[in-house]
Symmetry: C2
Subunit: 205 residues, 2 copies
DNA sequence: TGTACATCAGTGAACGCGCGTTCACTGATGTAC
DNA sequence: TGTACATCAGTGAACGCGCGTTCACTGATGTAC
């Protein structure tokens, strides 16, 4: 870990890490470039060697986040194969696990106001992540009689919304709004009820 | 509408309205007291005649929001009586309607990081709103056989999470993340599936 | 191995800016007589 | 109705601060010969 001397050696990464910590702590609007620089042990001006500016740092955090997120979702999806149900449920769990493990990334992705269409890579990474969930939903909905089958994109939007809601309301340390249940249980049971509603789990399971 | 002269006459309200507009536009951390004062046509120092400072303005917005919110929920709940199902569904719809109609309030309440326990009145208003949803859930869950009945607080947390998720992901103009469905439909259908999963709606309804 | 030199990562000072808050003040309002 | 005076809402200047960004610079690194 060579951190001494005039050259940092690892500044780009160190800045991104500092930014993630700060975004997690202060929110995307409260995050400042100067503070990130300070945490990395460097002058604010040095940041401009590696990023175009404040916005660019946030966008980079979001991009990295979507990549990790998509990988995790992909892996969860695969891990449940060949059962469409197991794959789907693993994907749901992976969502919450990601939000818990990478809160800075999560916030940069979903709460920073950064447009998905800022750069083609960002759009691509975001779509990849979204695609996994939609594929899992689509696979699973094959088991529903066609005339009662909701569009996979609606199905996945429902699950996404519930997951996001659980994260924002109960998994974040919202001051004074403690959940009566662990977020993991809440999401698991919520998805369970939902799947039962689609006839994908028998009522007694 | 007397706005001329040295005395504003209606400054407290005007400031709160300006704050709500700005919170909606810039987010809770992007909101500034100075700008709110400017919008109300007044010096920043004048704000201190009516509020204790920046934080207090946000807290006031949240408080007003919880009051309106609780009233709307209450009204929706009553409007569906005596049917527990109708009351519950109306409550869900009221949630989204509130978020759409009072985005500034919504953000101040749920995204500003203001603690519910900042003042007793704030805590009370928040609990009143939450209580309506929980009561609606509790009423409705009487129709579930006792041994299969989830706690009402879990039930209501699920619905709250899905509602909040729909608002955040699909009802807000998140740049580049357009929903394929109107948020209202998304929430209505999501809640429908969920209630079917609890056995509260017949599969063919 | 030694030297000259190009490359480039990070410095430090400076900029203009808007912020939240304070303070002594002033102008308008409303009340007592 | 008129006047004196208390109340108080809003002013304007000032404060110290941290921000994002720019610029000419300097010190370290690495490469060519």
């Amino acid at each position: 870990m060579p951190k001494r001397g005039y050259h940092h050696g690892n500044l780009k990464t160190a800045l991104l890490d500092a930014a993630l910590r700060l975004i997690e702590e202060k929110g995307p609007t409260g995050f400042t470039l100067s503070q990130a620089a300070k945490e990395a042990g460097v002058t604010p001006a040095a940041v401009y060697r590696h990023y175009q500016g404040r916005e660019d740092l946030i966008a980079e955090a979001a991009l990295q986040g979507y990549d990790i997120f998509a990988d995790l979702m992909e892996h969860a999806y695969q891990s449940g194969q060949p059962s469409a149900l197991a794959a789907f449920e693993a994907t749901g769990r992976a969502y919450l696990a990601f939000a818990r493990k990478f809160p800075g990334h999560y916030i940069a992705m979903f709460e920073s106001g950064i447009s998905i269409n800022r750069t083609p890579e960002l759009a691509q990474a975001a779509n990849r992540a979204n695609g996994v969930l939609e594929r899992a939903a689509s696979d699973l909905s094959q088991h529903i009689p066609e005339d009662k089958r909701p569009p996979a994109s609606m199905f996945s939007a429902h699950i996404w919304a519930m997951s996001h809601g659980v994260v924002e309301l109960f998994a974040r340390n919202s001051p004074g709004r403690a959940s009566p249940f662990p977020p993991e249980d809440l999401l698991e049971s919520g998805i369970g009820v939902y799947l039962r509603g689609l006839g994908l789990i028998s009522p007694d399971e």
